[in-house]
């Protein structure tokens, strides 16, 4: 029997942990996203970047004129634009990740059968899951960096600690991408896909992006605090104000749990769909 290069490569993985679901080739899936992006998807990326910038100008500077300063901590006042900018960054990380991991994944899964093709090779479902999420993450990084540059130019960054907002945005993007992809693998029709939008918009509007949560009654505050975007908003708002302490740990854990759950269910579901 001749052993081809492809077989030799696959044989090297024998005995590794999770060899049936992971081949160490998430980077090939990522490379595919890059090739596809290079040829077409950059317009989508541009709109994803412009959206939070437009919100910042319209609300931050338009509505902000009427509002004046906001007290974010006892005795600590910031302009309204500086108040919403971190929330817009968290939201843009969320939106970019969700767009990639829901609509894009849905088409690749149900119509173009891209994953079916990938999983006919020696790759496994975890390669696909990680590779796709990594792309959403890179997009989150690009959005966050671009947004920080704008915010910096507008003079809204007052401390170098605020640059931690970039890794925070990547963490948020990863969490949303993981959950978004997992949910999408269970979705069968366009109608169900629209449910995702119904969840996303209110989460954006009501998660303390435009005003402090303290205006809500207690029960509603608790509900909002259980949603992921609120944790993202608090995380980025804190580092933007230069606050880095143990109070951030629960928010970070929240996103780590999202990532793990998303990876687990995406891998499980891709196996069910294409390898069972």
């Amino acid at each position: 029997m001749i052993t081809t290069m492809a077989v030799a490569i696959a044989e090297k993985r024998i005995g590794r942990r999770g060899e049936s679901v992971y081949s160490g080739r998430a980077k090939a899936v990522l490379e595919r996203s890059y090739l596809a992006f290079r040829s077409s998807a950059w317009i989508v990326v541009l709109t994803g970047f412009l959206e939070p910038v437009m919100y910042l100008f319209s609300f931050g500077y338009g509505v902000g004129k009427l509002i004046g300063k906001i007290e974010v901590a006892p005795g600590h006042f910031v302009s309204y634009a500086a108040f919403i900018a971190p929330a817009l960054l968290a939201t843009s990380a969320m939106n970019g990740a969700i767009y990639d991991s829901t609509w894009n994944v849905f088409f690749k899964l149900r119509f173009d059968r891209v994953y079916q093709g990938m999983l006919a090779t020696s790759m496994g479902p975890l390669d696909v899951a990680l590779g796709e999420m990594a792309w959403a993450l890179i997009r989150g990084l690009a959005y966050a960096t671009a947004f920080m540059i704008i915010v910096g130019l507008l003079g809204l960054i007052t401390t170098p600690v605020a640059l931690l907002a970039i890794p925070a945005a990547v963490l948020i993007a990863f969490g949303f991408a993981a959950i978004g992809m997992a949910v999408t693998t269970y979705i069968k029709s366009f109608e169900q896909m629209n449910l995702i939008n119904i969840v996303m918009l209110p989460m954006f509007l009501f998660s303390g992006s435009f005003y402090p949560l303290s205006i809500y009654p207690g029960w509603l505050q608790l509900f909002i605090k259980s949603l992921p975007l609120w944790h993202g908003v608090v995380l980025i708002r804190s580092v933007s104000l230069g606050i880095v302490n143990t109070s951030l740990i629960p928010h970070i854990i929240y996103f780590l749990v999202m990532i793990l759950l998303g990876l687990f269910f995406t891998t499980k579901r891709l196996t069910q769909l294409f390898m069972r």
Binding site: M1, T4, A6, A28, A41, M275, R276
Partner: protein, 309 residues
Amino acid sequence: MQNEELIVAKGLTKKYGDFTAVNEIDFAVRKGESFGFLGPNGAGKSTTMRIIAATLTRTSGQISILGKDPADRGPEIRAHLGVVPQQDNLDQALTVTDNLYIYGRYFGLPRKFVKSKIDELLEFAQLTDKRNAKVESLSGGMKRRLTIARALISEPEILMLDEPTTGLDPQARHILWDRLFRLKEQGVTLLITTHYMDEAEQLCDRLMVMDKGSIMAEDSPADLIKKFSTKEVLEVRFGSDRNSQVSDQLKTMCERIEVLPDRILMYADDAELLLESIHRASLHPLTSLVRRSSLEDVFLRLTGRSLIE
């Protein structure tokens, strides 16, 4: 080794709840041969292919592909195989070249190696002048050839083709068959499912006739015809009302008869002679056709149904 068996299945079974898609089938595929699964839609061909390709788990029975069990050697087995699925799953967002390139990368092949293979594969698939085209602009035949080229990027020992020419026009089919012959000449083992008897006759050294999850017969196309049919067939039409009236009389005149809704098939080694005797008996068919027996007749004999309904 000439008769080395690459794929061996014993009692292979796949059930979905109460439904048995593949029912205790045995078969062996030898190195370098072109092995076909012939049967109507729903016969269990694609299910069998997916089990071999390690993308579907079996319910019971044994199967080994190059001595490996897909249940615990999935990634390795998939590295041995080139898969051409029934429905194209080319990457619509990528160009022709990028489709080949990235597929090689999925197998973990080095960039340099993959790039060095692309020109050769484009030429093989007769797509060299389409190399920078987007997939969606290709015709059905081109897409199928690209899918085959893509499956070859990892230099597989076994190429699996599920209904390779379904939906293609006659010219595109012939081009595709020609490409597959070339691969066979190069020593690639071909595994083909089809519900086209002409395709099975053209391409396959050995055939497994499947129906409702079971194997009905297995042999070379010529031997199947020899075994299950006569040399020739006479097709006669008397009009839909008279077909059944005359069938009793016709039955006595030949080895075997099949009454189909629109025509009667009469099996004999010399169909011309049979036609003469029908005329002598003053039964005048509206139309008559003398032809050689085909796999369609074999299938009809084995299952009592025609292959394409």
